[in-house]
Symmetry: C2
Subunit: 209 residues, 2 copies
Amino acid sequence: MKKQRISDAVIHRLPRYYRHLDDLHNKGTVRISSSLLGEKMGITASQIRQDLSCFGEFGQQGYGYNVAELRAEIGHILGVENGHRIIVIGAGHLGHALLQNFDFAKVGFQLDTAFDISPELIGTQIRGVTIRSMEELDEYVASYRPDVAVLTVPQNEAQPLAARLIELGIRGFWNFTNVELSTEVPGVFFEDVHFADTLLTLSYRISRS
Amino acid sequence: MKKQRISDAVIHRLPRYYRHLDDLHNKGTVRISSSLLGEKMGITASQIRQDLSCFGEFGQQGYGYNVAELRAEIGHILGVENGHRIIVIGAGHLGHALLQNFDFAKVGFQLDTAFDISPELIGTQIRGVTIRSMEELDEYVASYRPDVAVLTVPQNEAQPLAARLIELGIRGFWNFTNVELSTEVPGVFFEDVHFADTLLTLSYRISRS
DNA sequence: TAGATTGTTAATCGATTAACAATC
DNA sequence: TAGATTGTTAATCGATTAACAATC
């Protein structure tokens, strides 16, 4: 096992490994070789072994990998056992869709609560999660200290809201607004989900085929 | 201008360029140099010039790039003027959120119609888009020939549905189900939006900071 | 044991960055 | 003109692939 900085390319493949291993696991597959997994994922066996070697030795010569074990190891690397706590800010259509459909627990997140400004929504529940007033936000975050905030608010509110939350100790943002967030504060991370970008990539591809 | 295969890395940066240029354009910025744009985007000026050189010469020595012009050029490369036609399949929470909030026109797509199985939804409209019965799907696609389908249906329906749509001539899939789609048919493209992957990346980062 | 498959080192390939002549 | 900044070529860096000894 080499001990070095993990490249972004590797980090971005980890969730994919996790997803595919989870898939195999659910199908009852007990063992898998790097070549078979590579075939399934459309990457080389070499790359898989190289990637995994950044984190340890999880396989066995002549056998391959135990699916359940490797899945758990990668889950561990990704931090799914850390019980990170998450809140949703903005319960409009998209926020509502996430609250209703997205399985936060499956990726190891504990969904605590949601916030919105709309009086009709405040006090209601979606799948057991209470929607609170934005006025309670500061106090809530200060006392319950969630790790991550999902931002499904209007564009122009995103950056100031993020700044406010960073000050209150939030360390991760799952950002669905179409702005790229940033901060000077170290140890704070953003994952910007730009829907339009992927659709434009698709547009590019079908435009020249 | 070098004429060669465009790498995925470049293709994935194009929408970002487009977004940032659009942003500058909306702010009234007339010209921008590669170094200033790079600063804004967090990449090197060299990379921007190298990327753009794959498609042509859009700048001027000593001046930089005209924002409106470069924005239009990249839009053209991405195919936003092609008026691609798109349909949404599945008008549950996520499909509904997209219909309600996502600006398809802004990325050059013409949103034709949506489909769902729910009798309560069929016949209703969301932002002027009619929701039709899934039973009309084949006939509709066969006669109106949309280019792209947005898949916001249950996981297990995704792959067979995609196969069916490919046969009917759909060439692009904006896939929000958590399965990776594939086909043998050439000229068909998939953009899988895996929400969980980005959240897991975030989990990884906050777990080790 | 023989076959399979790992983890790792070395080789290759490609992408990013630097440098600079050309020129607006 | 002088300064700025491009497009492109060359240099560097890093990521992917290939190869193989180790070993289950």
